[in-house]
């Protein structure tokens, strides 16, 4: 058994925390860092609620060992709003009711964020493929697709 000093970047800030080798990334974020936006809905890797970005790619924080994140850059839902203002995706999920109970929402938005960063105008199929690991029990996904499409439009308008 071991403990280590973990150096990692969380939402743009470099941190150094003592963590047990067996610590899960989701617990590190929620308890050590205090960012509770990242949720846990299953017992490991089945629902996507804990999705965060690691070096820009979606990862399941609940089946990621924090120790394996040394030197990596982690982004959580809390990183998206700038100066208290919602990001285009957050605004779209709010205005188009992509979130009902809101519990899957952080993971859903982070998966969508990863998609829009590599494809700002995704097809509906691409949206569905990118969010296929994020279970939502409220929306039937219809308004989630619409929310991502709305964010994509907002990004396009922002560019013009």
């Amino acid at each position: 058994m071991g403990t280590r000093l973990l150096e990692v970047t969380v939402n743009g800030r470099t941190r150094c925390d003592a963590v047990d080798d067996a610590t899960l990334l989701v617990d590190y974020l929620r308890r050590s860092v205090g960012l509770t936006g990242t949720k846990q809905g299953c017992d490991g890797g089945e629902c996507g609620a804990c999705t965060v970005l690691v070096d820009g790619a979606p990862r399941l924080a609940c089946i990621t060992l924090a120790a394996s994140m040394a030197g990596r850059s982690i982004e959580t839902i809390e990183s998206l709003a700038a100066a208290g203002r919602m990001s285009p995706l957050q605004r779209a999920f709010h205005e188009h009711l992509g979130a009902q109970c809101g519990y899957c929402t952080p993971g859903m938005i982070m998966s969508a964020e990863a998609l829009l960063r590599r494809d700002r105008a995704p097809t509906e199929d691409a949206i569905r493929a990118a969010l296929a690991g994020n279970l939502c029990r409220c929306t039937g996904y219809v308004k989630i697709v619409e929310s991502v499409q709305a964010a994509s439009r907002a990004l396009a308008e922002g560019e013009r």
């Binding site: 058994m1 071991g2 280590r4 047990d20 080798d21 067996a22 610590t23 899960l24 617990d27 590190y28 308890r31 050590s32 017992d43 490991g44 890797g45 089945e46 996507g48 999705t51 690691v54 790619a57 979606p58 990862r59 399941l60 089946i63 990621t64 060992l65 120790a67 394996s68 040394a70 998966s111 990863a114 493929a129 990118a130 296929a132 690991g133 994020n134």
Partner: protein, 323 residues
């Protein structure tokens, strides 16, 4: 704040080289870690109790895809997402790209690796459960008990290997580099597996799959996966075919099926080689597949369905590849 305390804590070691990794892996109870998508869920359920977790994610040289003409070497820590997105892999080895894209969901694929998918643990509804649950049934042959709840009369574990890449790599005649303290040995992908759900990998302690080597493609290939949902699910059955069709008839066919037993099943294709690809040949292949695979009740979905659908997928894929 750690993984369930029912799991003894372990030491996480980040290997800088293959040499270091295989040295550590020779320690009793050591486990390999790259993306963690297979190991960590098992840690959380107390299915694995490693002394050391050896992370190979930082080893330079394991994360590349190298081409020589149309042959290819893929490092063990290449992620499934990268494999699925690689245009040259998709055009040269469609079965492999399709299999990589069929694994889990995007966040599994951006973490999960080629080596990890090849060496994934076998699965069973009586095994992939929490500690309380397994305690309630007294464990099973694979872990902590002496009865297989799938076939209580028997003395062997039927847990099914459910990796998607393996059948594709077998069909594509891939070989594996297996490193150990003594050096590197080469084995056919199909030889990685044993017909025992409790010990399904033919690796010795201290051995590590470091790369997959693919010969130039000999014809066309594809992979089809049966699952209930459009994502996340492990295969109820997954079929890969590599096929060379001459002017009139099938000259060569390799068919491998995953998710139907402790190891991928290679289906004999003598019956269809030499035949034209038509409905009758497809039906013949379906029958051969159904006769060759013997899924047991390791999933909530009935085993008979997995056998049937494996045949259907094989027949369909054959027709598609020949079209």
């Amino acid at each position: 704040m750690t993984i369930d305390a029912t799991t003894p804590r372990f030491e996480f070691r980040r290997a800088a080289s293959v040499g270091e990794a295989v040295q550590w892996l020779a320690t009793p109870g050591a486990r390999v870690h790259a993306g963690g998508t297979d190991l960590v869920p098992n840690l959380r359920r107390g299915l694995e109790r490693p002394s050391i977790v050896v992370d190979i994610g930082g080893i330079a040289g394991l994360a590349g895809i190298a081409w020589r003409d149309d042959a290819c070497a893929i490092g063990a820590t290449v992620t499934l997402a990268r494999l699925a997105a690689d245009a040259r892999v998709a055009s040269t080895y469609p079965a492999l790209a399709e299999a990589a894209a069929a694994v889990g969901a995007p966040a599994h694929r951006s973490a999960g690796t080629v080596g990890g998918n090849l060496c994934a643990d076998t699965r069973c509804v009586h095994y992939n459960q929490g500690a309380w649950w397994r305690g309630a049934v007294g464990g099973c042959l694979k872990r902590g008990g002496d009865v297989c709840h799938v076939a209580p009369q028997g003395r062997r574990c039927h847990a099914a290997f459910c990796g998607d890449l393996a059948p594709a790599l077998i069909a594509l005649s891939a070989e594996l580099d297996v490193a150990s303290y003594g050096g590197v040995r080469r084995m056919a992908a199909v030889d990685l597996y044993r017909d025992d759900g409790a010990a399904h990998l033919a690796l010795l302690p201290g051995e590590l799959v470091t790369a997959v080597r693919l010969p130039p493609p000999d014809g066309v290939s594809g992979y089809r996966k049966a699952r209930v949902r459009g994502s996340i699910d492990f295969p109820l059955a997954g079929v890969a075919i590599a096929l060379r069709v001459g002017q009139r008839s099938i000259e060569r066919a390799i068919v491998a099926v995953t998710g139907v037993g402790p190891r991928p099943v290679v289906v004999g294709t003598e019956a269809i080689v030499g035949r034209r690809v038509d409905d009758e040949t497809a039906a013949l292949l379906a029958t051969r597949v159904e006769q060759s695979v013997k899924p047991m009740r390791t999933t909530a979905t009935p085993a008979a369905y997995r056998r049937q659908v494996a045949g259907v997928l094989a027949a369909r894929l054959l027709r598609t590849l020949a079209a």
